[in-house]
Amino acid sequence: MLKILKYSFFDLARSRWSYIYFLFYLLLGFILFFLNHEVSKAVITLLNIIIILTPLIGTIFGVMYYYSSKEFTELLLAQPLKRTTIFIGQYLGLSLSLSLSLILGLGIPFVLYGVFLSSAIWNFTMLLLIGGFLTFIFVALSFLIGLSFNDKIKGFGVAILLWLFLAVIYDGIFLLSMILFDDYPLDKFALAMTMFNPIDLSRILILLKLDISALLGYTGAVFQKFFGTNFGMIISMTVLSLWILVPSWFMVKKALKKDF
């Protein structure tokens, strides 16, 4: 598995797209600091970008990589190798290289502008950690989609739809249901709803770390009470991990049964 991981990783490390992705974050980081010099403010701006962009890039890269390396995968399947090894190896290779682009791309400007000296270091680490989580989650989901649809266009469509659903439509339904059930106590419901969407969960986790959390008022206090404790932190990290593990488990199951 390590060999395949290594192969995928270096294959991607040589690819143009990884560099573009890396350079994009690098540029973004520098532009942010060019426009305002405060590390803590830059973290807030990054929040918006990370929770939308990492899932999107993860999804597109995942599906693209799956379909473009399909022939190579079939070649590998002809070798005496376990299917689990092949797919998990490829999955980890891709996720790691994307996460690395993110971490290096944003890390370099932040380190140059002195994130280590700033109090925002924990928020920044949290941001990168969550960016990493989101990458792993959405690459797993897109691999699963790739395995489920032989048709490239269909796969692409479904993957984008999934991203759209989790990034936008889910929040719309969330908002509407809260407005409709206005008369009922909604905090527990809101808490549960965020758990079922990794993008929402990531957003809340970072928001609560920032000053802006006071804006959330009473509902925020309920969330703070939950996420502020070690228990809440463990739960939310577990949920994020489950968001990686469950799709990858389905992915492996599908890969084992699939007739190539």
Partner: protein, 414 residues
Amino acid sequence: MTIKSFIPFILLLTTSVLFAGKTKVCPSCENQSIRTAIKSTPVGDTLIIEQGTYLESDLTIDKPITIIGINYPVIDGEEKSYIFNIISDSVTIKGLTLKNVGLSYTTDFAAIHTYNVKTFHFEDNRIYNAFFGFHIEKSKNGIIKNNTIIGSAITEYNSGNGIHLWHCSKIQILGNTIEKMRDGIYFEFVKNSIVQGNLSQKNVRYGLHFMFSDNNQYKNNHFEINGAGVAVMFSKNVIMENNTFRLNWGSASYGLLLKEINDAVILNNTFDQNTIGINADGTNRIIFKNNNFKNNGWAIRFLGACYGNNIIQNNFLQNALDISYKGSMNNNIFDKNYWSEYAGYDLDKDNIGDVPYRPVKLFSYVVNNTPETIILLRSLFVDIINFSEKVSPIFTPDNLKDFNPLMKPIQTND
């Protein structure tokens, strides 16, 4: 009458001031007790308290005298009761350190308590560990000036207010520093009074609390890091000028809470880093002018029944949400404000944007109706609905806009 006929009177007056008897108390004097000294001080005389520590409490002053402390003598109430209980007109207390006032759940013990008194003057006193600092009841024409009141309040139910006024009129509260009490300054049924140049900070509840108090002014005060900010409730004709409301940050905090306020003027104030700059509920005919709203969560949040307000020539700078409004009807006027989020243009270069600005975002409207939805703050969906509402407003009142948004911030005096 000529000036000559006044001379005897003037002479009499000056001699009586010059030769007024001065009673003295000090730890090494013949007279070591303030209580007996007060008794032996004739009406209109001065009692001098020299440096030292006096363990006394519940000192009743029933005649017009002046008490002056030299080098801030300490009167320690040993947490028993009141320290001074004033029931006479024209009492002056200056330069004392008063500490350890008793805590009670039935009586509002205070370092200085007055009841039914005219003309008092309390200046330059230092009050520490007091349940209430000043408790002024049914009194008139008083001055409370340059005092320092520092408490150690942690909870609301077992702490008192710094300066507490009840049924008073024509009181001046000037240049005091109040810290860590329940409410810094508390007004209930107070008329025609002025609060000026005070610093009220780190109080458990409000920096300043107005209830049923008409025709008052507060100016040049500084309210910082209070539990919930400043509350002005059920009052008419209040003038608020040149105050600074800062760092009232917390899930139930605001810079200024207005509740049932009519005909007030809010001028030249600065609201900086408050969760909610102004929380307005049932406020009518108020003029908000030349205020600075910087880095607040909400700059102004209008809850129900706010009509006929004029929001003119203010600066709204980098607030998460500028205005939040409830209801579909609006007759409040927003005019000539500077909005840092305004994205319009100014072709004729007259410093007035050519496109009206709509300060209420759909999301802030939704949040006002269903507070729990705030949890979707900064999600992509919210940005999308805000944008679509901006392009074609459906939910927010159509006429709630600033027709003349300024292109450059207003120069204010801070």
